[in-house]
C-alpha cells in the first residue's frame, strides 16, 4: 500500500477532513487496474521516435477540483511513478475555500518534498475549473460536495472566505458555512457536480484526457454515466471503484470519464 500524505497541519474546523470518500479515490487511483490503464495512457516515449509521439511524451497535468486538505492531490504527486509510471507529472488544484487552498498547498508541498520531486504548481482559489485554459488537463479528479443538502448561501462567501477583520480565528458560523461548501450538493447532491460536468469536455485534453469523479448512491450514478455517454459516441463513463456495499447497492463509487481514441 502506498503511504497516505500527512494532513496534521490542516485545520479541520473549516477544511474537509479526509474520510471514506477521499480514501476510496486514493485506493482506486492506485488499484492495479487503474494504474495499468494510466501507465498505458501516459506512456513515455523516447524523444527520438519522431514528432508524432510528442503528445504522448509531454508531462501530464493533473487537476484536482475542491482539494480540501489536499490529501488526494498530494498522494497523486508523491506516488506519480507508481500511478502513472513516470515522475514528471504536474499537479494543480483549486478550491473555493481560501483556507483549504493554503492548507492543501502545504500538504502537497510536504508530500512531494519527502517522496519525489514531482513539480507541484499551485492551488488556486476559484470556482470549479472556471480559470483553467481549455484542453490542457490530462487527469481530472473531483470528490464533489455530493450530499443531498441545501447549498450554502454564496452571497456570504466574500465575508467568510477570509479571517474576520482584526481577528486571528474564524467564527463558528463561518466554519459551518465553509464546511457546508465541502459536502452540500443541493438537489440529489448533484447541483455542483452538474456544473462541473458541463466544463469537463472543454478542459480535458482531447486525446489523453481522463477524469475520476466520486458519486454516492443518492446521486443516481447510472443516470450520471448515461448523461456523460450522451456527450458523443466516443465518450465513456464506467465505475472503476466502489465501497460500502449494502444489499447490492454501492454507497460510494468512482466513475472514470474518458474518450476512446479513434483507431
Amino acid at each position: 500500500m502506498l503511504p497516505t500524505p500527512s494532513t496534521a497541519h490542516v485545520c479541520f474546523d473549516h477544511v474537509y477532513e479526509p474520510a471514506e470518500d477521499s480514501f476510496l479515490l486514493l485506493d482506486t487511483l492506485s488499484s492495479p487496474s487503474e494504474t495499468a490503464f494510466l501507465h498505458s495512457r501516459f506512456k513515455q516515449t523516447s524523444f527520438q521516435e519522431g514528432s508524432n509521439e510528442t503528445c504522448n511524451s509531454s508531462s501530464p497535468l493533473v487537476l484536482e477540483i475542491g482539494v480540501g486538505s489536499g490529501v488526494v492531490l498530494a498522494f497523486v504527486a508523491a506516488n506519480a511513478s507508481n500511478i502513472f509510471g513516470r515522475s514528471d507529472v504536474l499537479t494543480l488544484g483549486t478550491d473555493i475555500n481560501s483556507f483549504a487552498c493554503k492548507d492543501a498547498s502545504r500538504t502537497v508541498q510536504t508530500a512531494t518534498d519527502e517522496h519525489c520531486p514531482t513539480p507541484f504548481f499551485d492551488i488556486i482559489n476559484g470556482d470549479l475549473a472556471s480559470s483553467i485554459r481549455s484542453s490542457c488537463i490530462d487527469i481530472f479528479l473531483f470528490n464533489p460536495p455530493y450530499v443531498p443538502a441545501e447549498l450554502p448561501d454564496l452571497s456570504r462567501h466574500d465575508n467568510y472566505n477570509t479571517l474576520p477583520m482584526g481577528q486571528t480565528s474564524t467564527s463558528f458560523e463561518q466554519d459551518s458555512y465553509l464546511l457546508a461548501l465541502s459536502y452540500a450538493g443541493g438537489a440529489d447532491g448533484m447541483e455542483v457536480t452538474n456544473r462541473m460536468l458541463e466544463q469537463i469536455p472543454q478542459i480535458l485534453h482531447p486525446v489523453r484526457g481522463v477524469g475520476y469523479l466520486l458519486l454516492c448512491a443518492q446521486n443516481k450514478p447510472e443516470e450520471v454515466k448515461q448523461h456523460i455517454r450522451n456527450w458523443g459516441s466516443r465518450w465513456m463513463a464506467e465505475t472503476v471503484g466502489s465501497s460500502g456495499k449494502k444489499a447490492g447497492w454501492e454507497k460510494l463509487q468512482i466513475v472514470r470519464i474518458w474518450r476512446e481514441t479513434s483507431k
Binding site: S58, S59, L61, D88, P117, P119, I123, S131
Partner: protein, 147 residues
C-alpha cells in the same frame, strides 16, 4: 504562484472564454519571491512541447525578468556531460561521466518553477478584470454580477 502556472490559466469570466486576449493573464504590481525546489530535468525536457512559449516569454518580459530564448530550448541542451569523481570519492582516481543539468536548464527551472508571485494582481487582457494574488494564492472567484 509560480510563473509556469500562468501558462495554464485564463480569465474566469464566461464572456472571455472565446477571446484570444484573455490568455495569458498579465501580472501587475507583482511582488516576486524565490522558493527553491529540486530541479527535475526530465520534467523540463517533457514540458517544453506543451508550453505556450510566446505567452510565457511575454509574461516573463512583463515581470522584468531576464528574457527567455526566442524558441523553447531543445531537450538535449538541458543536460551536459561532466567528468567528475563519484560522490564521496576524494581519491581523484575514479573519474566518471555524469549527466548534469545545463545552465539553460538551471535558468529555466529558476524562472518557471522557483520564481513566484507572492502578492499582486493578474489582469485579463480582454475585460480588464483584476484577480488578486495574496500570500501566493490567486483568487479567481468572481463577484456575482460578473459570473
Amino acid at each position: 504562484m509560480k510563473i509556469l502556472t500562468l501558462n495554464f490559466l485564463t480569465c474566469a469570466r464566461k464572456l472571455c472564454k472565446s477571446s484570444n486576449t484573455a490568455f495569458p493573464l498579465h501580472p501587475k504590481e507583482a511582488d516576486l519571491e524565490i522558493v527553491e525546489t529540486e530541479i527535475n530535468v526530465l520534467f523540463l525536457k517533457n514540458i517544453m512541447g506543451r508550453l505556450m512559449w510566446e505567452e510565457l516569454k511575454g509574461v516573463v518580459g512583463e515581470l522584468g525578468l531576464p528574457d527567455l530564448p526566442p524558441t523553447p530550448p531543445e531537450p538535449e541542451t538541458l543536460v551536459e556531460t561532466k567528468l567528475q569523481a563519484p560522490e564521496g570519492d576524494n581519491t581523484g582516481l575514479n573519474i566518471e561521466k555524469a549527466e548534469v543539468p545545463s545552465q539553460i536548464a538551471k535558468d529555466l527551472h529558476r524562472v518557471l518553477l522557483e520564481t513566484c508571485v507572492k502578492e499582486g494582481k493578474l489582469v485579463c487582457g480582454n475585460c480588464g478584470h483584476e484577480y488578486a494574488v495574496r500570500e501566493g494564492i490567486a483568487n479567481f472567484l468572481l463577484p456575482g454580477h460578473l459570473v
